[in-house]
């Protein structure tokens, strides 16, 4: 397997104090379950996208969902997000069930996501795109905004400061006023991440954040993801196709194939799982 993250992260930490089966990154403390997916079944007409999927996500961990194309990974994220409503099963976030929540309620609960096909707002600049992520926290009403005095102005400046910190973090300062439609793909992906980060989520869903990137861009993106997880403690659910990345940065992995779960556990375990190998390679070693 390719190792594309820096070697210091490959150093094995002292695991004697941690529960067996979990290998956190150096210094990370994996917490309790914050997201529990229970027996989710999702159908589109006659097609079953997801069949009886159950897994959990622990606080502060990096959980990857992998599987061949069409396995239902994005659909799973869409269910967590409230974009799709599964026909059966339930999803609980910190004990609070949200099977029928709409996307806004999910966002208010502290869940943010990026999109596989980049759902950026093409007509706006980088700065404005990331500022939309702050909209949840902006409280001033229409009239205050129209006059732009006092509270509305203060709010704009405060949130601008937060967004600037995110822009610094993602190293996209030179392009803050550029319309995102004009940026190269790799930078657009960073803006997508920035917008999700602006929501200050406790749970971040990343849908193929490294698709279409070259090696340097992937290294950068990995670094950002790991930094987000380290510095802000954000729990991350990651869909990714690059096995090197998945195996290196994940704490635990869920494997889907044709809408069913065929593997669940730490990367090493999943790597050796025969069903997984069969699904990907078609043969068993």
């Amino acid at each position: 397997m390719n190792a594309i993250v820096s070697s210091e992260l490959l150093a094995k930490p002292d695991t004697t104090l941690n529960p067996p089966g979990l290998e956190p990154a150096p210094g990370k403390r994996i917490g309790d379950v914050i997201l529990a997916v229970n027996n989710i079944t999702l159908r589109f007409g006659g097609v079953k996208a997801l069949t009886d999927i159950s897994f959990d996500v622990r606080e502060h961990e990096i959980r990857s969902i992998i599987g061949p194309n069409g396995a239902g990974k994005s659909s799973m994220l869409n269910c967590i997000n409230g974009v799709y409503q599964p026909q059966e099963g339930s999803i609980t976030l910190r004990g609070q069930s949200f099977r029928n929540m709409n996307p806004r309620q999910v966002a208010e609960a502290g869940v943010a996501r990026t999109f596989q096909n980049l759902a950026l707002f093409k007509g706006m600049s980088v700065l404005d795109n990331i500022m939309t992520g702050r909209n949840l926290r902006m409280k001033s009403n229409l009239f205050q905004q129209a006059l732009r005095l006092g509270p509305a102005l203060r709010e704009e400046v405060e949130h601008r400061a937060v967004v600037e910190r995110i822009i610094d973090f993602l190293e996209i300062q030179p392009w803050r006023k550029t319309p995102v439609g004009r940026l190269p793909y790799g930078l657009q992906k960073r803006v997508d991440l920035g917008r999700a980060l602006a929501m200050e989520p406790s749970l971040l869903l990343l849908d193929e954040p490294m698709a279409g990137m070259n090696v340097e861009e992937k290294q950068d993106m990995c670094r950002f993801i790991l930094d987000v997880n380290d510095e802000f403690g954000t729990t991350i659910v990651l869909i990714e196709h690059d096995m090197g990345v998945v195996m290196d940065i994940s704490d635990r992995v869920v494997v889907l194939d044709y809408g069913k779960k065929i593997g669940d556990g730490p990367p090493d375990e999943v790597r050796r799982n025969e069903d997984v190998i069969r699904a990907y390679l078609g043969t068993s070693h």
């Binding site: 869409n78 974009v83 999109f115 096909n117 759902a119």
Partner: protein, 309 residues
């Protein structure tokens, strides 16, 4: 009861005429995904051409026969509509490939204004007559059931028959011929169709010409009944609710939608109108379409629109 039936049939006939105009909409939308606001202007333009050619050609070429005049005028008007189709494709559509729907919509709005002005510049702006020999006398049916019988307009009956024939021909065209299949592919995805070698510009010229032909037929029928005048263009705006009701991609839907709108308008004007102050015909069709849009946006026969993230 007899009066009700008369209103009903009157509405059906009016609906048939709306449907004829709506047919042009559906054709263009099916084949190019363009919502052609200019269909009404095309009907007016075609009718003007027909009326004036029928007037000028006998004088120009020196013959008396009404039938010959009409035939020649029809052919000339058809040629003119094909030329208009070619010009629209060349100058407008070809340059706007792959733009968003709203841009194309605005472009057809611009074409509407242009055609309105151009038509009247070329052909004049008085009210003109079209006389293709449609019988104008009414007939009375069901005289044994109702006293005095139910009044039907022969002209409207002929119009209905022509419309039905048109629909049959067009449906066959779309379903059975290679060109029809190509048209459906183009409507689905311009770029994909281009990439498999479908000649986009030629297809569009064909479609707009066919729509022009439909517009000509509609223009002749309308013009024969009402006289060719500018307000024809505005009446054609009524066809929009028709296609909403029937479904933007359905030829039979255009007919059914037209009938529903026609009947609904007449009945509501007669029975509900007096309660509200009269004249509700100007908005009934649109409000009906609005209600439909809230409940079933794809219309009666249209395809469901799915948004994917």
């Amino acid at each position: 009861m007899g009066f009700f039936l008369e209103t009903l049939t009157g509405g059906l006939m009016a609906g048939m005429l709306y449907a004829l105009i709506a047919l042009g909409f559906v054709l263009i939308y099916k084949a190019s995904g363009v919502f052609n606001f200019a269909q009404g202007a095309m009907v007016l333009f075609a009718a003007l051409a027909m009326a004036r050619f029928a007037e000028w050609l006998p004088k120009l070429l020196g013959f008396e026969s009404r039938l010959l005049a009409n035939l020649l005028a029809f052919v000339c008007a058809l040629a003119v509509m094909a030329a208009v189709a070619w010009a629209i494709e060349r100058l407008v559509l070809g340059k706007l490939v792959n733009q968003e729907g709203i841009t194309l919509l605005m472009a057809t709005l611009g074409i509407t204004y242009f055609l309105d002005g151009f038509g009247q510049t070329l052909f004049g702006s008085d009210i003109y007559k079209i006389d293709v020999g449609m019988p104008k006398d009414p007939i009375f049916v069901l005289e044994s059931f109702f006293e005095g019988g139910v009044l039907l307009n022969k002209e409207d009956l002929y119009a209905a028959l022509i419309a039905a024939a048109l629909v049959a021909v067009l449906s066959l065209f779309f379903q059975k011929t290679g060109t029809g299949r190509a048209l459906r592919a183009v409507a689905d995805d311009h770029q994909a169709a281009q990439s498999i070698g479908i000649p986009l510009s030629r297809i569009w010229i064909i479609v707009w010409s066919v729509a022009g032909f439909v517009a000509l037929v509609a223009g002749i029928i309308w013009g024969s009944k009402l006289g060719v005048q500018f307000s024809l263009s505005l009446v054609a705006l009524k066809a929009l609710p028709v296609v909403i009701l029937g479904g933007l991609t359905s030829v039979p839907g255009a007919i059914l939608g037209g009938l529903i709108i026609g009947v609904g308008e007449k009945l509501s004007e007669v029975y509900i109108g007096p309660l509200l102050g009269g004249g509700i015909e100007i908005w009934f069709a649109y409000v009906l379409a609005l209600l439909f849009l809230l409940v079933r946006p794809q219309g009666l026969f249209g395809e469901k629109i799915i948004d994917r993230v």
